[in-house]
């Protein structure tokens, strides 16, 4: 699908996304029109458009093309297998919610109401009652939890669904990061005791950390959300938080909530315990979404385009023939095909690019743009020496590998790339962390786009006040999370904002 345009006018026909200039660039494979450091927003949108996303004619909706969908599917098979080990079962609840149920939990609906999309007509006729499209499924599911859970033997109840949800946001949409419809999994569980619920919250959070750090090679911080930032209607919210150095913004990566007994009260989710008494369940809900892909793109991409971590790349290695005038072209092509099958047998996702209408150079930049972790070139000299030339996407390092030990060698290379991408991202992130003590240091760090670690009194008032005092067109600063790994907090340390005694270290910053 990366072929040259038979008719460039086509670009105009494709609605909002079809900017002619960029189409041409894309077609000629000459790379991006802006640099990551110069115009991050434009850079991100260009990189996304390169086969990951297609902009759609309804604002805030995006098409996930196979190149990004494959990444989602790889994460999905990892996570789905892990939760099944935890005895979570998949199910599917309806897309639609009736108003009465949606509004049952007051704080919860206050959090979502402004973003809810309403169906009011079918065909030409009006519905008797408008019907909401799920922004999340707590209120969709819990009336049935109430029905299904009767005795202590019905607990724990652990359900999950993979689905689409809709939040009709108007704040500027961004592919993957903020869209009106997105794909996610949402887990909903009920337990007899708070201890069991608390334990699961952290088990799931650990899986989210692994998705980011082991699969997407994106470093995250595990921590607790503030009262202001926790899930509407829940007891407490834990999250994994990522940070984008270029914009100095935090990104909430995924959340694992303990809902306590608040929803159980609203929806009367009771059960008969061993003693024959009626008791109330403890609930969790947890979710991660296609936002993960956006965070990965922002973290690793460079001025040549995407860089995909090997573990989630649908094509880990691309093999490109480098024929030379009177050299044995057929031999080179055969070597490419043989190389691909050797790699595939070794369990590596490899593809050759034998297209005859592109130069090797064009192919290099095209596959670099697509972020394939490793490129293998095979030319006359390689053929002679029974070797291949490998080129890493993450750092450009070239290496000649004897064809004999190809599988083992490439496997090791891919692991190195995965590891290196994580290390580099981690160093960049840590270079942005700034520990501050006073308001002036806070403002200065904020303006320097730092990830701010500050001693805080942990009072809602104070966070609201900080938001108010930092409001601007770049958005207000807020808490990202209080990391579980707390630096030492010396006796008598004061809150940077209120001057009251500090209770904990908390990460602050602007966020997506």
């Amino acid at each position: 699908m990366a072929g040259p345009s038979g008719k460039k006018d086509k670009a105009e026909k494709a609605g909002p996304s079809g900017k002619k200039k960029k189409e041409v660039k894309k077609e000629t494979g000459l790379g991006l029109s802006v640099k990551k450091d110069e115009n991050f927003g434009e850079w991100y949108s260009e990189v996304c458009k390169h086969e990951m996303i297609e902009y759609y004619d309804i604002s805030g909706c995006y098409i996930l093309r196979p190149w990004s969908m494959a990444i989602w599917e790889i994460m999905q098979s990892f996570f789905d297998a892990e939760i099944k080990k935890m005895k979570v079962k998949n199910c599917y609840f309806p897309l639609f919610v009736s108003p009465g149920v949606l509004e049952k939990e007051k704080d919860h609906i206050e959090g979502f109401a402004p973003e809810v999309a309403w169906v009011t007509k079918s065909g030409k006729s009006d519905l008797e009652v408008p019907i909401a499209i799920r922004p999340t499924s707590e209120t969709v599911m819990y009336p049935y939890f109430s029905k299904w859970i009767r005795g202590h033997r019905d607990l724990p109840l652990k359900l999950n669904q993979w689905c689409n949800v809709v939040r009709w946001e108007f704040s500027n949409p961004t592919p993957f990061i903020r869209s009106r419809e997105f794909l996610w999994q949402e887990g909903h569980t009920a337990f007899a005791t708070k201890e069991e619920a608390d334990e699961e919250v952290l088990q799931i959070l650990e899986l989210y950390r692994r998705i980011y750090e082991e699969y997407l090679a994106v470093p995250v911080v595990k921590g607790m959300k503030s009262e202001n930032e926790k899930f509407a209607g829940g007891l407490y919210t834990t999250s994994v938080e990522a940070f984008i150095p270029n914009t100095g913004r935090g990104v909430q990566g995924a959340t694992s909530h303990c809902l306590g007994q608040n929803f159980a009260k609203m929806f009367e989710i009771n059960y008969e315990n061993e003693k024959g008494e009626t008791a109330m369940v403890w609930q969790n809900s947890w979710a991660y979404s296609t936002r993960t892909i956006g965070v990965m793109i922002m973290t690793h991409g460079d001025d040549k385009g995407l860089i995909l971590p090997p573990k989630v790349a649908s094509v880990q290695v691309v093999v490109i023939p480098v024929p030379y005038k009177d050299a044995n072209t057929q031999g080179i092509f055969d070597a490419c095909t043989a190389t691909v099958s050797t790699l595939c047998e070794a369990g590596i996702r490899a593809e050759e690019d034998l297209r005859d209408n592109y130069s090797p150079g064009w192919k290099y930049s095209n596959w670099e743009m697509k972020g394939v972790p490793l490129r293998i070139e095979i030319g006359p000299r390689d053929l002679e020496n029974d070797q291949v030339r490998t080129v890493r996407r993450d750092n450009g390092v070239k290496e000649d590998i004897p064809r004999g030990s190809l599988g083992k060698h490439v496997q090791e290379l891919l692991e190195k790339i995965q590891q290196n991408m994580y290390e580099v991202a981690k160093q960049k992130r840590e270079a942005c962390v700034e520990e501050i003590k006073t308001w002036d240091e806070f403002i200065e760090a904020l303006n320097k786009k730092k990830l701010i670690l500050a001693p805080w009194c942990d009072e809602e008032e104070v966070e609201r006040d900080v938001k108010a005092r930092t409001k601007g067109e770049t958005g207000a600063a807020k808490t990202l999370c209080s990391p579980f790994e707390q630096p030492e907090l010396p006796e008598g340390t004061l809150c940077f904002a209120s001057g009251k005694p500090a209770k904990k270290w908390t990460y602050w910053g602007r966020s997506y």
Copy 2:
């Protein structure tokens, strides 16, 4: 979740489905309140409610519980792997369609317009333009096919998505078979030549046949839809058709459409061919949905409840201890656990039911109700003789198996059950087929709930006329399909309805 009710009043709280009487029955595991032959509709709804489906408080929407979702996931992994072998790639297009695009293909929208759900509000504010929810995604996807397809090298383009679609039907909803929201896969492909498109239509249809016959053990007929019954806006529609003897109704199992060039014209999906000329693509679309599960339930279920084919059962074998007064109860329990692990090691999906609050008899009927293909009982005598007692769900046949050869034996048993379920279903279906020649024979066969095979002139007028003449509260008769395997059609055979020369044999009947 199958535990006894700690508080039966709970039943009332669960909306439409919470009929107290049935809840009690379900709880006590005493089986169904009606027989399959006596009241099929009620029987079907009761069987579905037994952990497959939960009725939802919005009419026409249903909750897929883990017991049915697992079946969907098993079919999904088969089909997804098969289409990936065919180089089909997964993607995800938005749930929403703008009116302009939706209405672009006239015949197509005429077919769907009455069932389209419209979003008109977000939060408290009206949308500038109402937005449709996809009933299917041809019009959602094809503007982008037009953009992505430029040269002949971009072809074939083969995309698929797993998603939910919404058709706001008002004809009486039925779990799985006819619901307002359902899950499906929809494949959308574009080719340079009609030959390639024609070939894929049949490749996909064969996969659908395999889902029904090899996985769900449901016999189907492959054939061609009539002009009246084909996909709105397409060139021709092929389908796999199932038949439900109890109601004498056909069910369209899945469809594989050749769209020809009609959508390509509307959406200007052109490409530059090898000669440098502008040409138009040939397109297909194909889908199967959660309806498959409903057809399976209707086909195999009996008065004891569900019967699941081993290949799609999330639990293929349930192991139940049968303790006896002064017998070695612990030994029996240990034998059950050991049996389960032996089976799991052999790749069989097995579970034990060691609950101490139910009698073996209660467990038997409970697992029979859930349709688990094979039950293993272990009692004192079995322990002594180092054997287990197997009981088949499909025919009740009991057998004692030495514990030594358990894995191999059970594997064979499961294959036998799968095969037998298919054979039995096929015999029942064939017993319903009636070949007719005249209108009187047609009406008689229709009243006898037969699957009617009739010689037909293949004229739209005539099918419309037959529909009109057979209209009644049980629904009009129509063509189901013209089977690809045509019986011989003797020279001079006349159409049963029009008396004109017959062109082909066609299946007729009432349908879901």
